[in-house]
Symmetry: C2
Subunit: 214 residues, 2 copies
Amino acid sequence: MKLYSYFRSSAAYRVRIALNLKGLSYDYAPIHLLRDGGEQLKPDYRALSPDGIVPTLIDGDNVINQSLAIIEYLEETHPEPALLPGTPTDRAFIRSIALQVACEIHPLNNTRVLQYLTNEVKLDDAAKNAWYARWVESGLDALERRLVSDPRVGVLCFGDTPTLADLCLVPQVFNARRFKVDVSRYPTIERVADHAATLDAFFRAAPAQQPDAE
Amino acid sequence: MKLYSYFRSSAAYRVRIALNLKGLSYDYAPIHLLRDGGEQLKPDYRALSPDGIVPTLIDGDNVINQSLAIIEYLEETHPEPALLPGTPTDRAFIRSIALQVACEIHPLNNTRVLQYLTNEVKLDDAAKNAWYARWVESGLDALERRLVSDPRVGVLCFGDTPTLADLCLVPQVFNARRFKVDVSRYPTIERVADHAATLDAFFRAAPAQQPDAE
């Protein structure tokens, strides 16, 4: 397998954790999102990812876009250890946490959106930071209220087992801290994410451990 | 089952199509996203949906947030007809289309984001429309390039069978047209979405057919 990735991409980070948890080795193909106007926008890469975003997974002849589609594919083709364990109700809980991050928080704060706000809308740094904080803080606040009262939450989002929920939460917390969000305001999220980040599969997937880290 | 919905919500529209395709009856609980500052922000509803967004599905004691988590749950608990048919590779294709809509296009253009741009960023209508067009047009353009060359595409995104991909595409096309995007620039998308919209399960899920339609 081959993963097109950028060390700091939250979406690529999710997939790197999944590959590590499943014990799958892969070639790391770096795509620099800022250099030369963005390597993800070059024709060679857009032939694989028409959106011009990372990650993309190559598995034999298969080209798979979208981090959550990649992880569901890995789950179906390499079921152990399960990243979506439990009953259908449990999996709905796990997927809904993952999607709350992937649909409500991350899309509003990724590189291309922040670039548009700077270059086209001409937001100054204060207004851009307010935008970032608006979506990350309200998203983490809502997630905290779900997690703090749910009996399924353990040392990780779902008991003690790493799941798709943790795969999305850890990169989002990393990203929030990079933008100076005070994650200690969300104590359940902070506890879970900081515990998960110590696990080997998560640690090896972290931005600083990637070959293209700066 | 009970579905908290708003007639014009794209995410609720996806779930309504899924429920119809699976032949599941449900109580329709309208949540008006604009009235009284937004009924989705009232404490009663936020106890079910901490994010204050629709849809939420109630199935017995289960409260499920996030449209794609709801649809995966329905798929697991009511497998026929399959909304994720085929091989793992096929399902990755279907999920990646759905996620391309749900993660790259829709989050940037939903009600709360457009309200923030108007009320906080103070964008005028021209700048807000440019924002809307930027993400919908680039997203549909990327999706068109994927679909036009993929042999799996038939009269629908995946052959002739309604899948999760169509469930996401039809509401996005409806939404784009409401904001005056010229969908004819994306002929494969237009052909697929317009065909899907004629199917009974899709027609009955359309905004105009809902009890809270205006």
